[in-house]
């Protein structure tokens, strides 16, 4: 049993089966990269983990506790979903920062709304607010954006926006941080600064799942790699092993371009 256990997740859009009985397990502090061609179901899998899509079938467990079961209505209620999805954080390809808030406010908003419902907030809102602000500031500094706290998203570069988005996800202290092609909307020059941040997070032993097309990065930063094709997990293994010694013909074919063969 790992930190995350996914059992038999499947998902269809109309008649198209996008995920077919996906199962895997992820240990704490491990980094899993999901690779595969477009349309292989990588992003849908990530979205199912974050409850942006509701899986048709399957079970998701975090630290042994079931947080989703497609056949148990208890887990499908809006309030249950809202609570359980906080085990995961998600960083989007297109950042999805809130344009009307500064970098700092973007990070604070969700936490502040969460705390508003607690008795602590009612007792001393100033103190709670200050604690959230201090936490957000330290996150931004960690992202190397200490001088950008009061900037609005449109005043930041793509790479800076994505780092704010990472800080925003971290602010809610998720058990597992997910990335959905975090550098695909960035030009090559800005890609580096985002990958560097993710690498630092890996060094801090954060549990992460990364959907990516950056093969070199996937190989270096992750311990495990999942190769998906046509809605199934075709190959799953230790990162270096999978990249250097792919077992499946399809995997070899996919990686051949990357390995320059």
């Amino acid at each position: 049993m790992g930190l995350l256990d996914v059992e038999n997740i499947s998902k269809s859009f109309g008649n198209t089966e996008v995920l077919k009985n996906i199962s895997f397990s992820l240990e704490e502090s491990n980094v899993l990269s999901i690779i595969g061609s477009s349309g292989s179901g990588k992003t849908t899998l990530l979205r199912c983990l974050n409850f942006l899509e509701k899986a048709d079938n399957g079970i998701i467990k975090v630290a042994g506790e079931t947080i989703f079961d497609a056949n148990d209505p208890r887990y499908l209620k809006a309030s249950a979903v809202r609570k359980n999805r906080l085990h995961f954080g998600l960083v989007f390809q297109s950042f999805n920062l809130f344009p009307q808030y500064t970098a700092l406010e973007n990070i604070m908003l969700a936490k502040e709304l969460q705390m508003k419902k607690t008795p602590e907030y009612k007792a001393d809102r100033r103190a709670v607010h200050n604690a959230i602000e201090a936490e957000a500031e330290s996150l931004l500094k960690m992202m190397g954006l200490g001088d950008r706290m009061k900037n609005y998203p449109h005043q930041l570069s793509g790479g800076q926006c994505q780092r704010v988005a990472i800080a925003r996800a971290l602010a809610l202290k998720p058990d597992i941080l997910c990335f959905d092609e975090p550098t695909s909307a960035l030009d090559p020059e800005l890609t580096g600064e985002v990958l560097k941040v993710i690498r630092e997070l890996a060094e801090q032993k954060r549990t992460m799942i990364i959907v990516t097309h950056e093969m070199a990065f996937a190989r270096d930063v992750s311990n495990e790699v999942m190769f998906m094709d046509g809605g199934t997990v075709l190959e799953y293994g230790e990162s270096r092993e999978l990249f250097e010694n792919p077992k499946q013909e399809r995997t070899k074919q996919f990686l051949s371009r990357f390995r320059g063969e």
Binding site: L52, R82, N96, H154
Partner: protein, 349 residues
């Protein structure tokens, strides 16, 4: 760069001029209101006193009292009439005392004062029309603004509700609101006004009554429903234009749908809809004139009454032209307000 600068200076100058013109007009109107109201209450009191004196048959004193009224308001025709009547009464008394020459001189005086009164209160004269028309148009414009204000207050929130209704996944709800919008946008507002005001009475239950307040509320209901439907379509466009990623970002951060709407999407929607909504609101200011079809006494009604004949003035066209100034001032101020709001929302993109 410099061309850019001169452009902004020019547009600023235009704004300042417009604001100055509007403020001037507002000052003129309010001064007129205060002075006129003051004059009115004073002259009415003096008039009552003079009438009482006349009733007590103390005609000499009555003449003095009526003159006191004219000192306050030289255009009070009833005071001229009062003086003339007093002189006529005095002439009767003189005749009773067989003093024909004195009697004749009183009659003369009565004729003179009647003539003076006719001249001073001649409503074919522009200078005599001005205060009457001004007052009437001001009163009409207050009604216009009332209808405008209540329509905005009702139609903005109702429009938001209707836009939610048209986005509802429940087919019956969704269908109902789409049908309502089709009816309301597909028929003339004037027809809707007539239907709402005269409809209940035709069915045997006149819920509006025949008083001015009834006309006002009937007009308000018609305008609120009509404008809510137009607003709802603008709102719908504004909400749908927001990228779905904003919803998803809010969801993965554990926010409720309400929190996402109010904390994330509302201001983005507002930014998107300010230009089309301001257009619609400027139209609303002018559309209020349609309410005259149910004899609601707004400003066009007031202006038009001087063509048909009202307060001794008839066949006069300039008052109806003059109503245009009120609309221009009102919409000028709104335009400036909206461009300010648009600027304010430029802090994010």
């Amino acid at each position: 760069m410099s061309a850019d600068k001169s452009q902004t200076i020019k547009s600023k100058l235009f704004n300042y001029l417009l604001v100055a013109a509007c403020l001037l007009l507002i000052v003129v109107i309010s001064v007129f209101y205060i002075v006129d109201g003051n004059k009115n209450s004073k002259s009415t009191a003096a008039m009552a006193k003079a009438d009482a004196t006349y009733e007590s048959q103390n005609y000499e004193q009555a003449i003095e009292d009526y003159k006191a009224v004219l000192a306050i308001d030289s255009k009070k025709q009833s005071a001229y009439n009062g003086i003339a009547n007093s002189y006529m009464a005095l002439s009767e008394i003189a005749l009773g005392q067989d003093d024909e020459s004195l009697s004749n001189s009183y009659i003369n005086k009565a004729n003179q004062i009647t003539e003076l009164g006719n001249k001073n209160c001649d409503t074919t004269q522009f200078s005599n029309q001005l205060p009457i028309v001004f007052k009437s148009l001001n009163n009409g414009f207050v009604q216009t603004l009332k209808l405008f204000g209540i329509t905005l207050l009702g139609a903005l929130p109702l429009g938001l509700l209707i836009s939610f209704g048209t986005r509802s996944k429940v087919k019956v709800v969704n269908g109902f609101f789409k049908f309502l919008i089709w009816i309301v946008r597909g028929t003339p507002l004037m027809l809707q006004l007539i239907l709402i005001y005269y409809g209940p009475g035709t069915l045997g239950n006149n819920i509006w009554g025949s008083k001015e307040t009834g006309r006002f509320w009937a007009a308000a209901v018609a305008f609120v429903i009509n404008y809510a439907c137009y607003f709802s379509e603008i709102f719908r466009g504004g909400i749908q234009g927001i990228p779905v990623g904003q919803d998803e970002a809010g969801l993965v951060l554990g926010m409720t749908k309400g929190e996402i709407f109010f904390k994330v999407k509302l201001i983005q929607m507002v930014k998107r809809i300010v230009p089309p909504i301001s257009n619609e609101i400027l139209t609303l200011v002018k559309d209020t004139s349609l309410a005259r079809i149910i004899a609601f006494k707004e400003i066009i009604f007031a202006g038009y009454s001087f063509m048909k004949g009202s307060q001794g003035i008839s066949g006069v066209v300039w008052p109806i032209f003059f109503t245009g100034i009120y609309y221009l001032v009102c919409n000028g101020l709104l335009t400036i307000g909206f461009s300010k709001l648009e600027k304010k929302l430029e802090y994010f993109k």
